[in-house]
């Protein structure tokens, strides 16, 4: 399955591992896959949001959740980098995205899984999936994204 990934899609997966490590997460989730896909400027363009905004929104979702359970982290600023990158595994949600993207590629008679196919698979997800929560937080219109990618 992985051998069908285009070069850009492969880079997106690698970037998603970096994004997980950067955040201090042990597994690559669908939210990290979304950030990885956004490393492709074309996909950030389709979403109308950039990486910086997406990372800030994830940090904000965390702060709001902590506050909701009564934890105020005050003025703490994340130092930005955590331990050296490890080989991280995929969450079960993230693992399911690759075969879904492959099915979408096959449906289009495309030999390669592109970042567009990965993004299409990601916007199909529904909350409480982490990527869906991030897209909602960013106010992305997923129907519009689907139209853009179909064009």
């Amino acid at each position: 399955m992985f051998e069908r990934l285009s070069d850009t899609a492969r880079e997106a997966i690698t970037s998603s591992a970096d994004e997980a490590a950067r955040r201090g997460d042990r597994r690559i989730g669908t939210d990290h896959l979304l950030l990885g896909v956004m490393h492709d400027p074309a996909m950030a363009g389709v979403l109308g949001r950039d990486l910086r905004q997406a990372r800030a929104e994830l940090a904000d979702l965390d702060l709001r959740a902590l506050k909701a359970v009564g934890i105020d982290v005050g003025s703490f600023q994340p130092p930005g980098s955590t331990s050296k990158p490890r080989r991280s595994s995929f969450s079960s949600g993230a693992r399911a995205v690759i075969p879904r993207a492959l099915a979408l590629a096959t449906g289009e008679r495309s030999r390669r899984i592109t970042t567009g196919h990965l993004l299409l698979a990601l916007i199909e997800l529904a909350e409480p999936d982490p990527a869906a929560a991030l897209l909602a937080g960013l106010g992305v219109d997923t129907a519009e994204v689907r139209r853009c990618l179909a064009a």
């Binding site: 955040r23 201090g24 997460d25 042990r26 979702l61 965390d62 702060l63 709001r64 959740a65 902590l66 909701a68 359970v69 009564g70 934890i71 982290v73 703490f76 994340p78 130092p79 930005g80 980098s81 955590t82 331990s83 050296k84 490890r86 909350e127 409480p128 929560a133």
Partner: protein, 65 residues
């Protein structure tokens, strides 16, 4: 404490579970920053491991060069 349990009751699982993830992430970030600082100030991996309640090997594998 009373305050916290009131908050816990009012939060939905999506928010509560995200808060747990956020705490893990915060712990990783604070740990990384302070392990780096301790190394700069000459702490041994063994001293850092003892402070964190983990083995010297595991802290070295995670942060060593």
């Amino acid at each position: 404490m009373e305050d916290l349990s009131a908050h816990l009751n009012s939060a939905d699982p999506a928010t509560g579970l995200r808060a747990v993830g956020a705490l893990h992430r915060l712990a990783e970030q604070v740990e990384a920053a302070h392990v780096r600082l301790a190394r700069e100030q000459g702490w041994s991996w063994e001293q850092i491991g003892d402070a964190l309640g983990v083995s010297r090997q595991s802290v070295h594998a995670k942060y060593g060069k």
